[in-house]
């Protein structure tokens, strides 16, 4: 298992909360094979989990008849993860969460998933499906060459 260049791994999850952990474990296994540091693997796990939770809850609206696709593409120096659901996609990115507003009851305590995704990976983009379905979030995490 020394050569994972241009390798693609796909996982299909039921739209049931908790199954994001299957995608987390798979992403972590691929990232470890690629040589990511442990702290970056942890970042990736949280970002993938949050992307899957959004897909299950908001994209597929917890409809267990629909599944969430997770496609991991391992390149030379980066890992790309696409999390695909049957929703229409985002209208707009939510504002950055504000802990003071949350504590003072001016903002919902929830709503931190997308902020965490953006903060923990090198690239994150949300893409609407062309047919009003098959929207996805694309995450990229890069190998840190300096630390290798």
């Amino acid at each position: 298992m020394t050569n994972v260049k241009s390798t693609c791994v796909e996982v299909r999850l039921p739209s049931r909360l908790g199954y994001e952990k299957v995608a987390m474990s798979t992403a972590a296994a691929v990232a470890k094979l690629m040589g990511f540091r442990e702290d970056r693997v942890d970042d990736l796990k949280t970002a993938v989990a949050e992307a899957c939770i959004n897909a299950i809850e908001h994209g597929n609206r917890l409809n267990e008849g629909l599944s969430v696709g997770v496609v991991l593409s391992a390149g030379d120096d980066q890992l790309e993860v696409k999390v695909i659901d049957d929703g229409k996609g985002l209208k707009a990115l939510p504002p950055k969460p504000d802990i003071d507003r949350k504590i003072h009851g001016e903002e919902d305590p929830r709503g931190m998933g997308m902020f965490l995704i953006q903060a923990l990976v090198d690239e994150a983009e949300w893409v609407k499906g062309s047919n009003g379905k098959s929207s996805y979030v694309r995450l990229v995490i890069r190998l840190d060459k300096v630390a290798e």
Binding site: G18, D39, I103
Partner: protein
């Protein structure tokens, strides 16, 4: 699929002589953890449990829904004049709690000894 959240309450005294209520969590902290996280906190007597210490030593997975439960606890604690602290988070979740700003309202410590020494 998610590991059930368990919560246990311990009463300790800090080296400075203050009573400290420790909420020890085990399992995942996620959307299914409301009863374990908020329920166990809300069952504490507000008049006497003024210092609340959260033990995450046996928690492996916390997602944004779980973080939201912790924030809901902090909101209730702020309204009740309680102070909340935490220990036992992994380096990753220490970073995540810091990113979302929880450290502004709940001091984080590496372990129970360090936490109690500061209270």
């Amino acid at each position: 699929m998610q590991s059930e959240t368990k919560a246990r309450v311990d009463q300790l005294t800090s080296p400075a002589g203050h009573p400290v209520t420790v909420l020890r969590f085990e399992g995942d902290i996620a959307s299914t953890s409301k009863e374990a996280v908020l329920g166990s906190y809300q069952a504490l007597p507000k008049e006497t449990a003024k210092l609340v210490l959260l033990d995450f030593t046996k928690v492996d997975y916390i997602n944004s829904s779980g973080i939201a439960l912790v924030i809901q606890m902090l909101i209730e604690a702020a309204n009740s004049g309680q102070k909340v602290y935490a220990f036992g988070l992994s380096a990753h979740f220490t970073k995540v709690f810091t990113m979302v700003g929880i450290t502004k309202y709940a001091g984080l410590f590496p372990g129970q000894t360090e936490a109690l020494a500061a209270l």
